[in-house]
């Protein structure tokens, strides 16, 4: 310990402190980015294991693998772990690694807070996962934790609430750090409209985070006081209303889904131009489209609640507002396709993932448009159609972009090339299996199979078996992803500074791997 403290003083001038204390005390954006990304990978595997339990139970009708209570805990905790532990920390990790070296800054603006925002997370998730072993089990009312059902949870309830508070504190600190970094730390000449699109999408995401995470914190605080302090926010007997929880939750929840996807748009907008060897088509329209999506995300929340008994005027407003989002999203898809148009394209693994993102995310977007149509939503609501929809946008959307980003920047981060052959195998196995996994769920949902139920009517058996087989293959292929990442970290063919022939941007002017402290004198941006 004393050695670590002694070396810590020189830390700023030389390389990282040796040993474990480097990671605990680090304020370096690259170290913290690495920690975030590895944490996200761990959570991705834990949440994935839960998904395997779900698919194993759903392989056949009837109850055979787990009891229904545990099944419900798996669906709920799978979602919480993947959203708050997988996708969000992965994007924060990418932001930490990339934003400073993309805008020519020396580090994040608030390095000590950065250390905190990461190190809260392992504690938050230990607490969340520990509820699975408490009396009454983990949260089982769905990730939306609707009262009154969620209030029936056992001893783990306050632990779940506090873990959500901690995740929120971590996200908000991360978001403030991103905003201050982008606003204050840009190299001279790096005007806002010259920033790489990944930086732009993260700036907008960060504003969504600070505007909505506190609302979630308020909602779960109300749940906590309803359960333990006799308040009646959502208790009709005391004059409250459980439907109000849904309004407050989705006021957070809908912007949250854009928090999960906007950085993905940014990643894909970096990768496609590189491998199409053309600048991004319609840069400024991309920026405006991102901002419009962020704005619209605040006025569409009740499309998650079409069946609660809204007046027709409300149904119509939320239906049309939701459909409006298809316009800026369509602009983005059009721009990505136009960037590829007549480009000299090559298909390295990051590009494969990026193209798959464009195609499969668009499928998820279209099923989202179907769900937006309020009269038919009454049929789709809470069925596997919804499950298929949000897994297309989150797995083949958000997670595919994170994988694309990993393959794209891993040689920059580690200085080693990943194994291209293994990367391509990972891509093809994942992409085929993920469609086998989720596509049949559209049919199941249209036929009326409800979500979050461990048993189903026998006529759904075949599609569920197909889906489960896809699920097992997809799950296993992610172990290959973890193997490729670890193998690349440990060694491999040396990467050049530029890594990719068509890569543009400040991060490629640094060595691979970049020095521990980069851009200590600001680069000149023309």
């Amino acid at each position: 310990m004393s050695t670590a403290t002694a070396t810590h003083d020189e830390h700023h001038d030389h390389g990282p402190a040796p040993g474990l204390m480097r990671w605990i005390t680090t304020t370096n954006h690259k170290d913290i980015g690495t920690l975030y990304l590895l944490f996200a990978l761990l959570m991705f595997l834990i949440g994935g294991a839960m998904a395997m339990i779900i698919r194993a139970e759903l392989f056949m009708p009837g109850l055979q693998v787990v009891d229904p209570m545990f099944f419900n805990q798996m669906t709920t905790v799978h979602a919480l772990v993947m959203i708050f532990g997988g996708v969000m920390p992965a994007f924060t990790g990418l932001a930490n690694w990339l934003i400073p070296i993309m805008i020519g800054g020396p580090d994040m603006a608030l390095p000590r807070m950065n250390n905190w925002s990461f190190w809260i997370l392992p504690f938050a998730f230990t607490m969340l996962l520990s509820t699975l072993f408490m009396s009454g089990g983990g949260p089982a009312a769905g990730w939306t934790i609707y009262p009154p059902l969620s209030l029936q949870m056992g001893d783990g309830f306050p632990f779940m609430i506090f873990s959500i508070h901690m995740m929120g504190v971590s996200s908000v600190m991360g978001a403030i750090n991103v905003i201050v970094t982008i606003m204050n730390m840009r190299a001279p000449g790096m005007t806002l409209m010259k920033m790489p699109l990944f930086v732009w999408t993260w700036l907008i995401t960060a504003y969504l985070l600070i505007a909505t995470i506190p609302v979630l914190a308020g909602a779960v605080t109300m749940l906590l006081t309803d359960k333990f302090f006799g308040t009646s926010f959502f208790n009709a007997a005391g004059g409250g209303d459980p439907v109000m929880y849904q309004h407050i939750f989705w006021f957070f929840g809908h912007p949250e889904v854009y928090i999960l996807i906007l950085p993905a748009f940014g990643v894909v907008s970096q990768i496609i131009p590189t491998f199409a060897r053309k600048p991004l088509f319609g840069y400024s329209s991309m920026v405006y489209a991102t901002a419009s999506i962020a704005f619209l995300s605040f006025i569409v929340w009740a499309h998650h609640m079409f069946t609660v008994g809204m007046p027709v005027a409300g149904e119509l407003f939320f239906m049309y507002a939701t459909m409006l989002i298809a316009v800026p999203t369509g602009v983005k898809v059009f721009n990505w396709v136009s960037t590829m148009w007549k480009g000299s394209m090559t298909f390295e693994t990051p590009m494969l993932f990026a193209i798959a993102f464009v195609v499969l995310f668009t499928i998820g977007g279209f099923s989202g448009l179907m769900l937006a149509i309020s009269p038919v939503d009454f049929q789709y609501h809470d069925t596997y159609f919804v499950v298929a929809h949000f897994h297309y946008v989150l797995v083949t959307g958000a997670i595919y972009s994170i994988m694309a980003a990993t393959y794209y920047w891993l040689p920059k981060w580690t200085g080693n090339m990943y194994d291209e052959r293994l990367g391509k195998i990972h891509f093809w196995v994942s992409t085929i299996s993920v469609n086998v996994l989720f596509f049949p769920q559209h049919f199941l949902g249209l036929a009326g199979m409800p979500r979050r139920i461990p048993d189903y009517a026998p006529q759904f058996t075949e599609f569920n078996m197909i889906s489960s087989i896809g699920g097992f293959v997809f799950g296993l292929s992610q172990l290959l992803f973890a193997y490729i990442v670890i193998k690349t970290i440990r060694g491999g063919e040396k990467a050049t500074d530029k890594v990719w022939e068509g890569a543009e941007g400040l991060e490629w002017t640094l060595s691979s791997p970049p020095p521990y402290h980069s851009f200590t004198t600001a680069p000149e941006v023309k």
């Binding site: 403030i176 204050n184 190299a187 506190p214 309004h247 006021f251 600001a522």
Partner: protein, 181 residues
């Protein structure tokens, strides 16, 4: 890690602004509670109907218009009460005061304290449905084994939109025995 960046705004001020947004949005989450109540009261969106007696209302009776009122009873999950309307439906004229009752029996083997929460469907009719006397205005205590009829007096405002022909009044009884200090 000092540097040569051109910082227009010192970090501290920008952080303070962002924290202000965070605190404001946390407050906004709680502000949504009264906002929601006001919107629902004005529009009758959630079918909430008055939980206090209306002042003596005198409407002009409209004998040419007949409405059907249905009475529904529901028990909240843990409520061990037998609870049902004495009559299931009534044909009424708007503007005239009617009286009916709900009946409850306590077979729980212990004393019960309950609270009934009313709701009207369609929601648009909620603000036209006026109760001058209702067992839902106060909490109800039941001795062990007690059976009691609880009166309800109501009048429907003749200004009720013409397209509404049937109203459903629903009561949900909640067990609040444990919440009594």
């Amino acid at each position: 890690m000092s540097d040569s960046q051109a910082n227009d705004v010192p970090h501290g001020r920008l952080v303070a602004k962002m924290l202000l947004i965070v605190v404001g949005m946390f407050g906004f989450g709680f502000a949504m509670v009264p906002i929601y109540d006001v919107i629902c009261e004005v529009t009758g969106l959630n079918g909430k109907t008055g939980r206090a007696a209306e002042a003596a209302l005198t409407y002009q009776e409209d004998p040419n218009r007949t409405l059907r009122v249905e009475f529904v009873s529901t028990l909240n999950a843990s409520m061990p009460l037998e609870f049902h309307p004495v009559v299931k439906t009534m044909e009424i004229h708007p503007g005239k005061v009617y009286e009916t009752a709900y009946s409850a029996t306590n077979n729980a083997g212990r004393e019960l304290v309950g609270q009934a929460v009313p709701s009207v469907v369609p929601g648009a009719a909620a603000s036209y449905f006026q109760k001058t006397e209702c067992f839902c205005f106060t909490r109800q205590e039941f001795k062990e084994g007690e059976t009691r009829e609880m009166p309800l007096r109501f009048v429907v405002d003749p200004a009720l939109p013409k397209h509404i022909k049937t109203l459903t009044l629903s009561y949900t009884f909640f067990d609040i025995t444990d919440k009594e200090g």
